[in-house]
Amino acid sequence: MRYYSKDHEWIEVNGETGKVGITDHAQAQLGELVFCEMEPPGTVLAAGDMAGAVESVKAAADILTPVSGEITAVNDALADDPVPLNTAPEENWLFTIRLSAAEELDALMDEGAYKVFCHE
């Protein structure tokens, strides 16, 4: 099941862990991405904390974790080449997180609600 945050991130939850990435809307707003940097595995975060940043030619955008938990993996390939975040944002995750409070997912949006949110 995939959830969406108001900060334009998606989280794909499978059991106890979720993969987190940025949405197509987010990459379109940022433009050409040139750099991304995530906190290392083992970092414990509360929902809304900064998990890292993605940077386009023109701006830096903080990546805020949509749920609380511990970062379990970081997609290092994107640090060397963030272009897939522009071309296929919903297929390329930035980090995985072990959820410590799964009920936080209830506060996120499903795909339909997120599409409405983006058009508001």
Partner: protein
């Protein structure tokens, strides 16, 4: 506000942005490809938002010598002169380009400063000088890049009122002044000839690589041209001018801040406002920074108040190492 080229931008699929009240293209295809077009071939920019102020009358030249820090008599041998314009305290009111026009002198000023400059100039002008804000008479198209002048040969330039071989990219090229109604046709001819439309995003990368100051970043009413590294445009021996005393004191002050260039050793990207540390101690802040595709690294311009052996820039809480670099970062091959 919209420039006469607004509909050309929309037709070309530009993403528009607000720039000091002007709706201007941020980018068309992509900032990096636009940047590459200017460095390798030729790009064109809509700079119609720039202000134009006409200073005329018998006392015009003498007045400009008082108003501007550079020696305007250089116009006897050069078609245009770049100069800071300072307040009495040495702070920078604006930076301008001056050329002869219509029996007087035309000052091309920053869009956001047009009204302020107009008031300042009028307020200081003697009775034998007339000052007019004639910004509405002009659209401006900048053609920049190694192929700029070859490309101009393919366009009908009969409508061009003024051609100034200046720019804001570090490449050869020019800025063409035309009546607003003539701008769309010229724009279409130049793009048909191969000039790549470029937006503000590419313009900012290009001017940062070229170490050129942007008013509001490297220059302001609180920053003197001496601090911004523009001392060669402050002519102390030409006689009196507004700000001279303050600038002389500053010139002889050992503690003044100065603008430096820094290149990043890692991949983190410096942005305006980030803190700069010298030997671990806070010593300044980034004024402009970002990726520099022509150099293959990331760069920053920053004001610092002290010299250091080792510089770092604080990016998301981490001290990222940077190396002192001579400005400009990028210099075109002659």
């Amino acid at each position: 506000m919209r420039t006469p080229l607004y509909h050309e931008h929309l037709a070309a699929g530009a993403r528009m942005t607000d720039y000091h009240g002007w709706e201007l293209p941020a980018q068309y295809g992509g900032i990096l490809s636009e940047h590459a077009a200017v460095r390798q071939r030729a790009g064109i920019f809509d700079v119609s938002h720039m202000g134009e102020i006409l200073v005329s009358g018998t006392g015009a030249l003498g007045f400009l010598q008082i108003l501007l820090t550079h020696d305007v008599r250089r116009l006897e041998t050069k078609p245009w002169v770049y100069s800071p314009m300072c307040g009495t305290d040495g702070g920078t009111v604006d930076d301008v380009i001056v050329c002869r026009y219509d029996g007087g002198f035309l000052l091309c000023v920053n869009a956001a400063n047009t009204e302020k400059d107009f008031s300042w100039i009028r307020q200081n002008a003697p009775s034998d000088v007339t000052v007019e804000n004639i910004s509405e008479r002009f659209a401006q198209i900048a053609v920049q890049g190694p192929d700029a002048f070859t490309l101009l040969e393919k366009a009908d330039l009969s409508a061009v009122l003024l051609q100034s071989n200046t720019g804001y990219t570090g490449e050869r090229g020019c800025e063409l002044y035309v009546a607003p109604g003539d701008a769309p046709k010229l724009w279409r001819e130049l793009t048909a000839a191969g000039a790549v439309p470029c937006g503000l995003g590419a313009r900012d990368l290009l001017r940062t690589e070229a170490g050129l100051p942007l008013y509001g970043h490297e220059l302001s009413e609180d920053i003197s041209p001496l601090e911004a590294g523009l001392g060669r445009f402050v002519c102390f021996d030409k006689g009196d001018f507004i700000g001279r005393d303050a600038l002389l004191r500053l010139r002889d002050s050992p503690s003044r801040r100065r603008l430096i260039g820094l290149t990043m050793q890692g991949r983190a990207i410096p942005r305006p406002g980030y803190a700069v540390l010298g030997d671990g101690i806070p010593c300044g802040a980034v004024t402009s920074g970002g990726v520099a595709p022509a150099l293959g690294c990331n760069v920053a311009m920053a004001f610092v108040t002290s010299e250091a052996e080792r510089y770092t820039i604080v990016i998301r809480g981490k001290e990222e190492p940077a190396v002192l670099a001579e400005l400009p970062f990028y210099r075109r091959r002659k």
